[in-house]
């Protein structure tokens, strides 16, 4: 279990080691930062590999700066412990981040902390142990949205929409998305066309994007 908040780990423990979880013998290692987590993973990969990893996204980065988040950690873990089930637990619920994590890590479990209750955690745990991936309702919602649209927006388009929704001006977008201004404009127009609201202004675009669940 990797989380920088001992209280949260306490919560996980309380849930998983509860009375109704007698059928599993659970041994838990905890780490509160990337360095410790990586060390533990490395060590276990050489001895007894972990069966399951609880990974928070926001973590204090490693001292050498190569691992900056749970996302990076999960990538390493997948290489080092290919058989381990990875469960991502995060406070972040923004679509583009969910999208990224799903794409980069494809975790066995994806739980949004704000949605999470202990019964859901147990359910997820049980599902994942038995080999069924489990996603939080929010994540599922994201999947659904992606499905209902007969097109999908790539990461960059999503980022553009996300930053626009935060009030960033189009002309400042190159600072946030690694694209030139003209490219951004082009993409904006593409998105508008996809939403079949060509020539609408930014406000309309955002409204539509919200309606369609991209923001």
């Amino acid at each position: 279990m990797i989380d920088d908040h001992p209280m949260i780990i306490e919560g996980y423990k309380n849930t998983l080691l509860g009375e109704n979880q007698k059928e599993y013998q659970i041994k838990i290692d905890i780490a509160s930062n990337c360095d410790d987590a990586y060390d533990s993973i490395l060590k276990s990969s050489k001895t007894t590999p972990y069966d399951m990893l609880f990974v928070d996204i926001k973590l204090p980065p490693s001292s050498d700066g190569t691992i900056t988040s749970g996302e990076d950690l999960a990538k390493h873990a997948k290489e080092l412990l290919p058989k381990a089930k990875i469960i991502i637990l995060t406070m972040h619920r923004e679509d583009h981040r969910i999208h990224n994590i799903l794409k980069n890590i494809n975790p066995s479990g994806f739980l949004i902390k704000s949605d999470l209750t202990s019964s859901e955690l147990l359910l997820a745990f049980n599902n994942i142990v038995s080999g069924t991936p489990y996603y939080s309702a929010t994540v599922n919602n994201h999947f659904r949205k992606m499905m209902t649209n007969n097109f999908s927006l790539d990461e960059k388009n999503l980022k553009i929409l996300y930053h626009l929704s935060r009030g960033v001006k189009t002309k400042n977008l190159p600072n946030y998305v690694s694209l030139s201004l003209s490219a951004i404009e082009k993409r904006k127009n593409q998105i508008k066309e996809m939403f079949s609201i060509a020539k609408a202004d930014d406000q309309k675009l955002l409204e539509e994007a919200r309606k369609r669940g991209f923001v």
Binding site: H5, M7, G11, Y12, G18, K58, M91, S114, L116, L121
Partner: protein, 683 residues
């Protein structure tokens, strides 16, 4: 320094103007009428059919009206005309009086030409009564004409004839006081002037004068030549006969002086051949007869002699020609003396003496004394001899004194004329000084203006710079503020999200986990609180999200500055406001000058609204249309009549700011429906 110049320039300028004004002929209301009256009176005065008395009356009338005119050239001309007319009607006292008035006026008007003319006419008036005064006047006149010659700024034709006349008169006076060389010089000068003026009227007179002078200086042949020329110049004029007789008589006299009696006789006879003329002029006839007889007597041709003398004397007696009688009786006395008839000689000599005394002819008086001293007995002869000596002495003295006097007059006049010249030079100098000062003043003014405008430019530049500086400070302050706020918000957001929210989540999860295991019948109610915790989490997350949202980009700052200005001012004045900014305006790329100007325009407009409009709300919009920023400031106040409102400094400032940015501005206002200020600025 400049003020000093200006002051003096003004002073001189006023002086110059006032001196100019005197030369102007001013026509006032009613002048036309007066001109008419003067001219008709003068016309009547010139009418030779009317009696002298009537003509004088008319002149008096003309003068009375003329004197009411304002001083000027017209008045002067009328005065001149009137005085000359008095001369023509032979009212010499009035002529003199009016000529003096003319002189005074021409002095006031600084009209030198008329001054010279008046002096000349005064000279004419005194010519027969007081040679000294006459000479003084002629001399003054001549000096003025001579100064024209020197200055060379007048057309010589304008005054050459008059100048010649003055010179002639001066020459005559000098001849009379026996200053022959001077007289000759002046006469030659006069001849030059007359020739220049192409008016030969006085040329015979001049040559006659030269002839007489030549005779006095014993250049007899030259004298005869001059007299002959005199006849030449009189040819084909109405004075031809008169001049010829006079010149022949003169030539006769010259030959008599040269003791060429036969020649003299010949010329007298030539003169006497003009019977027609002589019949009408007994005085001339008597003169010629007398002269002829005298020459015959001198050449010892005594045929018919005393008879000829007596014939002449009887004519002269009959016409009371006293001067003639004096000469005639002298001749007779001489004749009887040579015939040794002393008693007759004495009686004629005494008659001659009385006549000479009567006409004041000193020369003949002297001759009569000489004769009397010779023909009287010893005792009386001595008395006459003494009288002769005394008179002769006194005459010499008098002549010398008179010449001295004339010299003095000449000197004094010269001084005066020099003074006049000095005055005119002064005037010239003054004009130059004024011109110079004016140029200096103008130059100074130009430089002054240049400096002023430079200063203005500099000031404007400084103002712009300080405006930019103010804006920059305003902006940087705002940015710092925003930055601080942003940092703090970010910190709070992170704290909430990662710290508080995480711990809360942990607590909730633990509680939930424990709750699952507990079976004490309170699970449901605890679940309710756990859900409540969950919703608290959600709320905190939302807050954190809001705080963390990066709403600030640098270009927002300008709009923020503007909005805070509007907001601050409107709050203070308790007015509602709406502010809208077009997102498409890229404030960051717009130069600070424009931003400051727009800021100031909004400020100025708001001040106007607060002061005058009595508005309840104001709406301020930035719109972006066709590469132009349109700023609209709209209020719902009482408005104003565009035509009625004098453009105040506020509106002027706005207009000048907009012009500075090559923009356009419109003030649209209708009474009672608010005011709209529209500003369009190209980017």
């Amino acid at each position: 320094m400049f003020r000093f110049h200006i002051k003096y320039a003004c002073f001189f300028f006023v002086l110059y103007l006032s001196s100019c004004q005197e030369d102007k002929i001013e026509y006032k209301g009613g002048d036309e009428l007066r001109f008419g009256l003067i001219e008709s009176s003068l016309k009547e005065a010139k009418d030779k059919k009317r009696s002298l008395k009537e003509r004088k009356e008319s002149l008096k009338e003309a003068y009375a009206i003329s004197s009411t005119l304002d001083d000027g050239l017209y008045k002067l001309n009328q005065f001149r005309e009137i005085s000359l007319e008095y001369y023509r009607v032979k009212d010499l006292d009035n002529f003199k009086k009016h000529n003096d008035k003319t002189l005074d006026l021409s002095i006031i008007l600084k009209d030198s030409l008329n001054m010279a003319k008046s002096y000349f006419l005064n000279g004419l008036y005194y010519r027969n009564s007081d040679l000294g005064i006459a000479y003084e006047n002629f001399d003054k006149s001549e000096k003025i004409y001579a100064s024209f010659d020197k200055a060379n700024n007048l057309d010589p034709l304008l005054y050459a004839y008059d100048h010649g006349k003055v010179l002639t008169d001066l020459a005559k006076i000098l001849r009379k006081v026996k200053d022959y060389s001077q007289s000759e010089g002046l006469t030659i000068e006069a001849i030059k002037k007359f020739k220049l003026s192409k008016n030969p009227k006085y040329l015979p007179l001049c040559y006659t004068n030269l002839g007489i002078l030549a005779k006095y200086t014993e250049r007899y042949e030259a004298s005869v030549d001059y007299h002959l020329q005199s006849i030449e110049y009189a040819k084909n004029t109405n004075k031809e006969v008169f001049q010829t007789i006079a010149s022949y008589n003169n030539i006769g006299t010259v030959y008599k002086s040269d003791k060429k009696y036969k020649k003299a006789e010949e010329y007298y006879n030539r003169a006497l051949s003009y019977n027609d003329f002589l019949n009408k002029n007994p005085k001339t006839f008597a003169l010629l007869l007398d002269n002829l007889a005298y020459v015959k007597f001198l050449s010892n041709d005594n045929e018919n002699i005393p008879e000829a003398f007596f014939e002449s004397l009887s004519i002269r007696d009959s016409i009371s020609d006293i001067q003639g009688i004096s000469t005639n009786t002298l001749h007779l006395a001489e004749y009887y003396k040579s015939n040794e008839n002393d008693s007759l000689a004495k009686s004629f000599a005494e008659r001659a003496k009385n006549a000479a005394l009567e006409v004041n002819n000193n020369e003949e008086l002297l001759q009569s004394y000489e004769l009397l001293s010779e023909v009287s007995d010893n005792e009386n002869g001595l008395v006459y001899a003494r009288k002769y000596i005394r008179l002769s002495d006194s005459l010499v003295k008098e002549e010398r004194a008179f010449r001295d006097k004339l010299a003095r007059i000449r000197f004094e006049t010269e001084e005066k004329v020099q003074e006049i010249a000095a005055i005119s030079r002064e005037k010239e100098l003054l004009i130059f000084a004024i011109l110079g000062l004016s140029v200096l003043f103008l130059l100074g003014y130009v430089i002054f203006r240049q400096q002023q405008s430079n200063k203005e430019l500099l000031f404007e530049q400084n103002q712009q710079q300080s405006n930019q500086e103010i804006y920059r400070l305003l902006l940087s302050q705002q940015l710092k503020l925003e930055e601080g706020r942003k940092l703090e918000q970010h910190r709070m957001s992170e704290e909430l999200h990662d710290g508080v929210l995480g711990r809360l989540f942990g607590v909730r999860l633990s509680l939930d986990g424990i709750n699952q295991r507990a079976n004490d019948g309170f699970t449901e109610s605890r679940n309710k609180y756990i859900d409540e915790l969950k919703s608290i989490e959600k709320e905190i997350r939302l807050i954190s999200h809001d705080l963390g949202t990066d709403t600030l980009s640098p270009d927002i700052a300008y709009v923020d500055v503007v909005e805070s200005l509007v907001s601050d001012l409107c709050t203070v004045h308790k007015m509602e406001f709406a502010f809208a900014n077009d997102e498409n305006i890229d404030w960051e790329t717009i130069d600070d000058q424009k931003k400051v100007n727009l800021f100031r325009i909004i400020q100025e407009s708001l001040q106007n609204i607060f002061k005058h409009a009595r508005a309840k709300s104001v709406k301020i919009n930035f719109d972006y249309v066709d590469d132009k920023i349109n700023l609209t400031i709209l209020d719902d106040g009482i408005g104003f009549k565009s035509s009625k409102v004098k453009r105040g400094i506020g509106l002027k400032n706005i207009t000048s700011r907009v012009t500075q940015m090559n923009g356009v501005v419109d003030f649209i206002s209708n009474q009672d429906s608010g005011t709209k200020v529209s500003v369009g600025i190209p980017i």
